[in-house]
Symmetry: C2
Subunit: 367 residues, 2 copies
């Protein structure tokens, strides 16, 4: 199964969105070429790697056929049914993260039960909507992302029509995220804790390192991430979304794959999350995660009313020559995550301004 020319292993990723696309870019440096299982030939990663199988991530036959052609299988998303992940492993496929860990990134109830049992700080939650005072947050147990599957429920509001849990609204000082990579051998490496800026439940900006976070909370966040990775047996990159609240930290959500909160690391860190994820699932030594510069800002590009990248890309490159632009090969649609921009610098405000200016130009906002 190894590559015939180089003898290097074949890594397969189930799902072919932008995370797989950027993982392929990292794979090329390591002498690899990512193999992807894509829903469609138009998926972001399928457009840029030669090694594409078309098939649904919920189709056992497609999964098995794909997995048997790889040395290691990993994921671009959480949508492979957990039982099928377990069945792949039982059939002899090396799958990272495994079903036992991945469950906690797929099922918000299971995650809260497990983290609670580990005494890891999380907001108060319940299966019973009567257990919490309104307004509270309701979250779909499965499948939510980018603000979808999350509702603020006040007096008189209906409850969601899907399986959900409810969670207290906490006073958020800042939203944070921390990523850690873990190998099957148990090695771990964290990146700096980042601040994430959300708008309508969607991450629009990431500042690395988090500019207003104490050393104590930084160390606590990183220790939490390492502990969660170890207790849950995560292999690959784990992203832990956190709330900084008065007096401490709460874990909000987990993702067990490269994550939007880590895109800054492509330019900003010695080893980026995509390469590190590959190293981790291959049980190769992990790379240095130090940042190159005092500040790295990543801003997401969401489609605007009249975004036309063929017109706006040159304008954006002219507007901010220090911007590193990443486009995902998608047709522009309102609100769709089309790419991101990263800027490195010395000053938080100035670097944020440059990243925002580049994204506004890409979106085609009027001056």
């Amino acid at each position: 199964m190894t590559d015939r020319t180089t003898g290097l292993p074949v890594v397969g990723m189930i799902g072919a969105g932008q995370l797989a696309r950027m993982t392929h870019q990292a794979a090329v440096g390591l002498g690899l070429s990512l193999r992807v299982l894509a829903d469609s030939a138009d998926d972001g990663a399928a457009l840029v790697t030669p090694d594409v199988e078309i098939g649904a991530a919920t189709d056992w036959d497609a999964l098995e056929r794909f997995a048997k052609s790889c040395d290691v299988v990993t994921f671009d998303h959480e949508h492979v049914p957990n039982a099928l992940v377990a069945a792949l492993a039982s059939s002899g496929v090396t799958v990272h993260p495994g079903a036992g860990a991945l469950l906690y990134a797929q099922d918000k109830r299971a995650m809260r039960e497990r983290l609670g049992a580990l005494d890891i700080p999380i907001p108060k939650w319940s299966d019973d909507p009567e257990a919490l005072a309104r307004p509270f947050i309701a979250k779909a147990v499965r499948g939510g992302y980018d603000g979808k599957g999350v509702w603020v429920v006040d007096e008189g509001d209906p409850l969601p029509p899907v399986d959900y849990i409810v969670e207290e609204r906490v006073t958020i000082v800042h939203e944070l995220a921390v990523q850690v990579a873990r190998t099957p051998s148990g090695a771990t490496r964290c990146w700096p804790v980042v601040e994430t800026v959300q708008r309508d439940g969607i991450c629009v900006e990431v500042i690395a390192p988090a500019p207003r976070l104490s050393h104590a909370l930084t160390a606590e966040a990183q220790a939490l991430a390492v502990r969660i990775a170890e207790e849950l047996g995560v292999v690959g990159v784990l992203a832990v979304e956190l709330f900084e609240v008065p007096g401490g930290l709460f874990v909000n959500e987990l993702a067990m794959r490269p994550h939007n909160s880590g895109h800054w690391s492509i330019e900003g860190s010695v080893t980026d999350q995509f390469e590190q994820h590959l190293r981790a699932v291959l049980d190769w030594p992990l790379g240095d995660t130090r940042p190159h510069r005092p500040v790295t800002v990543m801003a997401n590009l969401l489609g605007g009313e009249s975004t036309n990248l063929a017109q706006s890309l040159p304008a954006a490159l002219a507007a901010v020559p220090s911007a590193s632009v990443h486009l995902y090969g998608k047709a522009a649609r309102l609100g769709r995550k089309l790419g991101h921009v990263t800027v490195l610098g010395d000053d938080v405000a100035e670097t944020r301004e440059l990243a925002q200016r580049a994204v506004a130009a890409l979106r085609g906002d009027a001056e």
Copy 2:
């Protein structure tokens, strides 16, 4: 011809070696996917991009068919006959750099005649081996690279069996290189001047910026590169190899494509040479070329006696966690350029040592 989904242009590269491979990595960020004309499906870039035509760079039919499927055509190497480059342009294809410029990267005699006419400093040279005292350097007019096509000719030595020019041996203080990108609109941007370290005529190491170069010579080298790009009408990235000699600079050779002396820029500079080459041939605004850190060192990986990358890659990653490894997808052979390693740092000696240690581990040298 533009991409149907994004409306972005299609860039084609003739040749599919490691330069095309790394250009594809950069293209993906810009929302593109490089189209390549490969000699073989095993070529480094053909392994990692889905958009591959197989054909010889000397075959007019293959060239024309390939070029007509692209918005812009550029080059991974200098081996397309100049007349065919001119014919492509005449047939309506946008080709950068054009035949008129590319000639000076293909023909060492034409280059020396032209630079001499421009009063650009070059070593004394001649077509006549009797015109210079021996020992002198003989260089094949066409097709030399990595020390091939270059001979030291002393008393009694035979002259080369190919078309050649002869050149005086100069006292080299340091070997340098400077790259500049130029757009069809005439915009130019230089990177810092780098020092190149050669062994047996092959570049083994690049230090950016050149650590022992005066401000005056740095400015002179960059001004020379810009002037050459403008006078010769280069579009894309131009690499100018230079000799620092007692009292000044001599131009040694030109390349009109991404070049080994610029690989450091992938991690080391805000905009790397591969992305900048794409921007330039597309007539898009050029990116910032500042380095991120005080020192960037790139070391080439040449195959050793018993290089086995599948074994040595994990060992190298363990040996130097701060190394960024780039492998080209080639089978290991003695002396073959298999990849490179880049390390960023603050101190020249320490950063060089780390890069060398990583390359030695990759080569599989005994400890």
